[in-house]
Symmetry: C2
Subunit: 184 residues, 2 copies
């Protein structure tokens, strides 16, 4: 990559981080280009879609969270590992406004650049879920998609309604309760 291209790419990512922090994952791409002092075409050349930009911004976080599931699986009892992972997942989903919604969109759209890293992360969580189910802690009629859907749903609504954001943890706890086996 040419040196000026490299510089532009870095500038765009830098500015994008700030703008997404301010406006959420639906931030204006035009605004990002403007503030990076770069033509629209340059932004599109480096990131052909909004999802490519988000992947560059967030992909490593998803990878880290996927790896984290492996660590927790090796070091903690099943129920505790799952709960801790979900706590970290929820915290990650709150990184940027709209992120939970972007992750949900990824479910349907396997052309999305966020698809692969999100799926890997979901699958890592699903393994912790399966382990907790084998240990009898979690209802057997729940799968990884249910888990992801419920936690993402609560995260995405909290993004949109600040008054609900205040009770995020409580809502996560209530959802968690619903997944726990009745007879232990």
């Amino acid at each position: 990559m040419r040196a000026d291209a490299q510089r532009n790419r870095a500038r765009i990512l830098d500015v994008a981080r700030t703008v997404v922090e301010e406006q959420g994952t639906q931030a204006s791409l035009r605004d990002i280009a403007r503030r990076a002092e770069v033509g629209m075409g340059t932004l599109y050349r480096h990131f052909a879609t909004r999802e490519e930009l988000l992947e560059a911004l967030l992909g490593s976080r998803f990878d880290r969270l996927a790896a984290r599931a492996g660590t927790l699986e090796a070091t903690r009892p099943p129920a505790e590992a799952l709960e801790e992972w979900l706590r970290e997942f929820a915290a990650g989903a709150a990184t940027y406004r709209g992120l939970a919604a972007s992750m949900i969109a990824t479910l349907e759209d396997d052309a999305s650049s966020l698809h692969a890293s999100c799926m890997a992360m979901r699958e890592a969580g699903a393994r912790l879920l399966a382990r907790a189910q084998e240990a009898g802690h979690i209802r057997p009629d729940v799968d990884g998609t249910d888990l992801f859907a419920l936690f993402s749903a609560v995260a995405s609504i909290a993004d949109v309604a600040p008054s609900i954001a205040a009770r995020r943890d409580h809502l996560f706890a209530l959802v968690m309760e619903g997944l726990v086996s009745r007879s232990r």
Copy 2:
């Protein structure tokens, strides 16, 4: 109201119903005006905000659901009344794509034309919740806002991801499980 104004209003509402059915609550207002064969100014004269239009489209549904809570309270045992009402609430939230999200937005925005009717409906649900709590069926640490947040969250995510829409009922059931008292 002048006769032509009355006709225009009716036309707009008619077309809006169709377009919102097609595109969801975020439907293009321009498109509605176009298809109603009416100037943009006319649409704005009759419905100053998108929420006013939605209220005209949906207000009576909310009122009906609020009234339904009273009926259920009078005719069914507490737990059953709450569950049935939530079932109907969830079905209503699925009327239009984006409706659950619009209702959630209403929480923060008390200037919204949907605010009053939504709040009345939520309060009706909250009364059923309180009754089920007094009967010991539902955890005491849940309030009407929790109830609304959780069910709306699941409804709104199902709007966005068809693959999740298929398991709506299952997700509602899981959430419901989380609200039920452990010791009965």
